[in-house]
Amino acid sequence: MTATQTGGTLRVPARTTAGTSSAARGWRRYRPATFYGFIAPWLAGFVLLTLFPLGYALWLSTTNYDGMTGRYRYVGLDNYTAIASDPDALHALARTGLYTLGTVPLSIAFGLLLAVLLNQQIRARGAFRALIYLPAVVPIVGSALCFKMLFNADFGAVNAVIGLVGIPPVDWLSDPGVFVVLVAVTLWGVGASMIISLSGLQGIPRELQEAARVDGAGAWQVFSKITLPLLSPIILFQVITGIIGSVQGFVAPLLLTASSGTASVTSVPQSTYLYMIHVYAQYFAYGRFGYASALLWVLFVLILLLTVVIFRVSARAVFYENAPDTPTRRRRTRETPEVTR
């Protein structure tokens, strides 16, 4: 990487032709214009729909723009220091942390357990897999409405069931019960995690597990010493995507708590007042574009930091088949498919 960055110009003498078998192939494979032509749609999209909006938000976050008057001025880092003294923002951040800590590990563990069960040779395995995965394909608006009906205080099935054992009806959709409903609707989609873990389990060579059995390992030992380490990259992947998904939590808390038809970010109760709800409210309910953009950037940076930290911390725990220090080093197979051909 560093080598390519130092060049600066487009001409690269001789370096690129190293490693090809036939020079005759070379001319067509190394025309950079063709490559850039092919990736142009993504590149344009990346610059215009990702980089530019991010930069625009960063610029907005240093102003007091309100989206209405068109008059604004540069305020430096004021918006960022304001976050530290905004109790709602801090509360929302803590809530989001709690929600993430509560749902991500639970989803992964539950998904893994289901994957192990569904990886057995059992009858109707396909049907079980389909049924348990089914809720994961239900659109979020649909699942939020489902759970709103299920936990409705007056006619919900949950209150009917707990009524059978004599518990008085609970108003689930307001504080603090609504947090339980939010966690429940999230866990309902555990099938997504189950499928990923299942595909990981299917990729583990059976000989490894059988060899361990032959050596006298019990089922738990095989799972913890062989299966789990081999699954660790997939678990890491789920941790990271799970965190990124759950800090964006917005639609479910919004739809779960709107008492009447129209959902409004300002009516979301305390216990599900997640960070994105706060951001959205600052933008579109209060028109504090500059401040809300600062909130957005704080979230973005937090996610970046968290991802880096998780990668660092997990470096020891995660087992890669083609880790750099193992003798059978084969980095090329995954990273650069051209070399193998």
Partner: protein, 293 residues
């Protein structure tokens, strides 16, 4: 666990005492019982939704768990009380256009990353992967503010643009698929005098039907489910079913009409479930995750 899977004819002396038949049965029960309980529990929310969609207010108030008579009229109300058909067409159109464009565009970009070479390719691919880590909502709101300034809000253009830009995950998926194809294909095409674009369109793309289908289905269902973009970028009249559904179905006074809402929700969820059940094998057996292996 693996002992169970071994064919009975294989002698397994090295494994110690063979598990007795009763132990096997107990173990099988330990797998089936939790699975049945969980599968049933997971179906309850959907069953409940359908049950409410066939009930009436009196039935709900009486607290009976299942409707006494089936009120199919709720479904008629669901499609007439709000412009259900128009919302559904918008959802279909936006999700469809976005999915087609995103699939084709990602295929093209994935082909570039798999088959072509240029300076900076490695770095660019790292950026593709890194964009998967950028929370979508962080770019979405500023995009809305920008589009509002240049008049792209309250039009369907954002979906076209997002589609053309492709999706990082699909690019990754297509890169994997195109990398795995033999290079003889290229040589043959070159000998026939094909350019790279022709080669992509008429040689490689037809061979990538599975990732194309996967990409289309994933993007389409994602678009059908999307709530935030249409609620931001579209007015209430031109919005999609996801937004229309969650905002409509109230009496003029604002009291929610639960039975009608439930019927509308069933109609909204149903197409996705049908797609899933038809392609269930593909979903469950891994095209969702095929890029990750």
């Amino acid at each position: 666990m693996t002992v169970l899977e071994r064919p009975a004819t294989l002698p397994t002396p090295a494994l110690g005492p063979a598990p007795s038949r009763r132990a096997g049965r107990r173990r099988r029960r330990a797998v089936y019982v939790p699975l049945v309980v969980i599968a049933v529990a997971f179906l309850i929310p959907l069953v409940w939704l359908v049950s409410i969609s066939l009930n009436d207010d009196a039935g709900l108030a009486s607290g009976s768990l299942l409707p006494k008579t089936l009120h199919w009229s709720n479904y008629r109300d669901a499609v007439t009380l709000i412009p259900f058909g128009r919302y559904a067409v918008t959802s279909l159109l936006l999700a469809g256009v976005h999915a087609v464009l995103a699939t084709l565009s990602s295929a093209m970009v994935g082909f570039g990353f798999a088959r072509l070479r240029a300076r900076g390719k490695g770095v660019l691919f790292m950026i593709v992967i890194a964009t998967m880590m950028v929370p979508a909502i962080v770019t979405l709101i500023p995009t809305y503010l920008i589009f509002a300034r240049i008049g792209l809000v309250y039009t369907y253009w954002p979906w076209v643009l997002w589609g053309l830009g492709g999706s990082a995950f699909l690019i990754f998926l297509f890169r994997q698929a195109f990398s795995a194809m033999p290079s003889d294909l290229e040589d043959a095409a070159i000998i026939d005098g094909c350019g790279w674009m022709r080669m992509f369109v008429s040689v490689f793309l037809p061979l990538a039907k599975a990732p194309c289908l996967a990409g289309f289905i994933l993007t389409f269902t994602g678009g059908w489910a999307d709530f935030i973009s249409p609620s931001l970028f579209l007015s209430n009249d031109q919005t999609t079913l996801a937004v229309g559904l969650s905002a409509g179905y109230t009496t003029p006074a604002g009291t929610p009409l639960y039975t009608t809402l439930a019927a509308g929700a069933v109609l909204y969820i149903l197409p996705v479930l049908v797609i899933f059940l038809v392609l269930q094998r593909g979903f469950v057996n891994g095209f969702v995750t095929s890029g990750m292996k």
